[in-house]
């Protein structure tokens, strides 16, 4: 992975942590059930620093969702033939 990618991953993780912090403040009962583990928003923030596998899952789908939404927006505006 290039240095440029590493930097952008850090930026994305920072934004994702901001979302989680807001979740922790607004909805204290929010829980992520991860198999046999049950994590609070604060737990997830801490895990994102240590757990490479979790970080990879989160980043992959954060970017994937952005692409999916852009694709749907493009289809909505220009039609399916122009994708």
């Amino acid at each position: 992975m290039s240095e440029k990618n590493l930097v952008s991953d850090k930026v994305l993780i920072t934004e994702i942590k901001k979302t989680l912090s807001k979740l922790a403040n607004n909805n204290s009962s929010w829980t992520l059930v991860l198999g046999r583990e049950t994590l609070s928003a604060t737990d997830v923030i801490q895990r994102l620093d240590k757990d490479k596998h979790l970080r990879k899952i989160v980043l992959t789908h954060y970017v994937g969702l952005a692409v999916e939404m852009e694709k749907q927006g493009r289809e909505k505006r220009f039609g399916e033939d122009n994708t």
């Binding site: 979740l23 009962s29 829980t31 992520l32 049950t38 899952i57 789908h61 969702l65």
Partner: protein, 214 residues
């Protein structure tokens, strides 16, 4: 058509998945599928083995914890694993269990059964439980209530995961959307497609250039 539905409840995750499975139980009852429920204390290996032998169901539903090679019962021990999965030969297995489509699923498939399951850890967020329930259960509806083909049921379920993940972003539930998408990616239906070849297997060697294989 006959079904056995097994649903332990012994921790915070199974507290939720026990409720998810109730919808499947209800659908079976409404659709005239003769369903036998093995809940909580009954969701253990001896009871599961007896039910499979006595009832000989067409469908076996299991919600929830799993491992690569097992479905975990109420007592924390394997209710189904590689040693007794021959009892699922020729049956349709539908499960939400983590990881079990890695080794157990292919073994059931090799014995002539089919396996709806997940190759990685299954996750969900408590701010979006109705959406996760819809995603986890929809495949059962497509295949066994509507009678759609295995291939179509899998395709439609994956489309449901994608649709719900985009809707969750729109609702501001970004984290739920992330794990909705992850679950959809890890869903497989063995028989709608074959298990992926494992690295290092003999078939893999055959693909190597002759020089490397020597």
């Amino acid at each position: 058509m006959k079904a056995v539905l097994c649903r332990p409840k012994f921790d915070s995750a199974t507290k939720y998945t026990f409720v998810f499975a109730a919808e499947i139980l209800q659908w079976c009852q409404q659709a005239g599928i003769e369903v036998t429920e093995l809940a909580e204390e009954d969701a253990v290996r001896p009871a599961v083995e007896t039910a499979l032998e006595r009832i000989n169901p067409d469908i076996f539903v299991f919600y929830d914890h799993g491992d690569k090679d097992a479905l975990i019962g109420q007592d924390g021990k394997a209710a189904i694993d590689l040693k007794n999965c021959d009892r699922l030969a020729g049956k349709e297995v539908f499960t939400l269990a983590c990881l079990s489509a890695k080794d157990l699923g292919p073994e059931v498939w090799r014995k002539g059964g089919t396996y709806w399951g997940y190759t990685e850890v299954v996750s969900f967020a408590t701010d979006s439980l109705p959406e996760f329930q819809e995603a986890f259960n929809c495949g059962f509806h497509y295949r066994f209530i509507e009678g759609d083909s295995r291939e179509n049921a899998l395709t439609r379920a994956k489309e449901t995961f994608t649709r719900l993940s985009v809707e969750l972003v729109g609702a501001g539930n970004t984290f739920a959307a992330i794990f909705m998408r992850e679950n959809g990616d890890n869903l497989v239906y063995l028989d709608a497609h074959k298990p992926e070849e494992k690295e290092g297997c003999l078939l893999g060697l055959l693909k190597l250039p002759l020089k490397l294989a020597r």
